[in-house]
Point group: C2
Amino acid sequence: MTELKNDLLLKALLREPTERTPLWIMRQAGRYLPEYREVRAQAGDFMSLCRNPELACEVTMQPLRRYKLDAAILFSDILTVPDALGLGLYFEAGEGPKFERPVQSTAQIGKLAVPDVSETLGYVFDAVRTIRRELDGQVPLIGFAGSPWTVGTYMVEGGSSREFPIIKGLAAEAPAALDSMLDIVARTTTEYLNAQVEAGAQAIMIFDTWGSALERDDYLRFSLAPMQKIVDGLTRQNEGRRIPVILFTKGAGVLLKDMVATGCDALGVDWTTSLADARQYTGDKVALQGNLDPATLRESPEVIRQGVADTLASYGKGPGHVFNLGHGVTPDIDPDHVAVLVDAVHELSPQYH
Amino acid sequence: MTELKNDLLLKALLREPTERTPLWIMRQAGRYLPEYREVRAQAGDFMSLCRNPELACEVTMQPLRRYKLDAAILFSDILTVPDALGLGLYFEAGEGPKFERPVQSTAQIGKLAVPDVSETLGYVFDAVRTIRRELDGQVPLIGFAGSPWTVGTYMVEGGSSREFPIIKGLAAEAPAALDSMLDIVARTTTEYLNAQVEAGAQAIMIFDTWGSALERDDYLRFSLAPMQKIVDGLTRQNEGRRIPVILFTKGAGVLLKDMVATGCDALGVDWTTSLADARQYTGDKVALQGNLDPATLRESPEVIRQGVADTLASYGKGPGHVFNLGHGVTPDIDPDHVAVLVDAVHELSPQYH
């Protein structure tokens, strides 16, 4: 394996000292970049792009050519896992993801089984290997998956949802069946992430976009417990290095206190909780990643720089901060504004180390 | 004025002892009721219903005929205030509220002025008087308005929004102009609510649906500070009784700690914060209203009863709890399920008093 030239991200995720705050940006490979839109048009639909290792590698690399980022993140989607479970993922123009065969009853849950990930998700591991080769040790590669609860909302509702009526119905009326579905998703996700690590992913992030739609007891049972199973089953060491694990429940707030106990290395934080508060909730036991409001990228360079300065100051001195947005960069953002953010982190963060 | 026969709500909001937990339901007058849909069809569009005091009174009374509720809430909309400010509110089928003349620049903000509410919003005060007459002291009537920030998001974005790009732009680039717009909304809202009280509203609730989309410092400046101005300016005594004020920022979480200091009497809580935690955050200084997940109303009677039991137990013993959902009842709910909830609160709550 090639030597890693920039290991700031891995060090910060393990709360080891660094000379400045490393950064990457959620959805850094995405629609705000004209070069991404070109490749996407070439690939056809979104899943064809995910399934083509060369093109997935190309869009993964694009933001690194523009910006001094400290990590690449695999270009893929959290819904590859339920697709591998046989639900039939498809995208309708302007409508977001859909499933041909959603799972809405105890009987349908009973038919689910953990698939052979090397067979059903091999295209992802091919992409990871291609990206690692192309990165050539420039920065580490982050692999990822969705949390079982978040993935489960799409599996049960059949697509995007705002109120989650069907899965909340299962949680209330057939909680053991829902546990069992989430267990299958968790076991599949564990194998999926371990295969990403084996293929070359150097850190792992689990995205839990919808956990905070639950009341706390249900969050603990249906969102955090399945994530815990994944953390417990993950390969934590590869190529002679520890593989850090980041959990991110959007809107977690004080739930961050509960998340620390999973044994993860880092927690993602959105902008509705200040990093100062998050640091207090987590008692410096884990690293924190975040948390500028993505809306800030629409503003002037002065406002973006101030936002970066405030975010760095809120975390304060010491190791353990990975700069990021509090959620993904949106398609309407001017790529030059992202450059302002990246430069500001490089310029303003050394004083905190 | 007629004597109030059931003052449980007013007592609980002031943390005075009651023999059981009073309850009402956000959006209790609404589309889940067939008799509402009939009146709505008769009125034509939504605003015609709001502007017709007889019909607004009729739909306000409908849920009280079905359920043993402890309050009526004025049937109206939070966007009557910006309509009175001259923005031209209209509703497009299936698209939600829109404004003909959104306010998106410092120059447009400069042209806003506090209107004569008796002239522009007289139809609301007529509705309040009509409802009070019809209630005949059965239960108290809650008046309400939106928070300036929440109302401001519609004024600036021109309608519903998920990311609030334009108003967040103002907050970042022209914060003093946004302060000044929110000040005009706050002053108009104060006059509007005081006129509701004068017409007969016996408690006041301020709905802040979108405050929690802000990071904390911005929440304090753009959402909480304008609500504070309203609380400071409100008539707190009428007909020989105190007029309790309830603030509700959806998704407030630990922001509840900041909200207590406004001098409000009660705080609304959504289901993502347990009442036990909310009680700890607020140190029993205010009453709490909430917080069953509205999704629970889709479930079986057993699950609804258990949800009520858990909510009551989470608040625990002592005065100061008003039972409610954590957000409005949705149009798809079976009215019989609401009856299960209401009966469960009557049956299960006395043991906590």
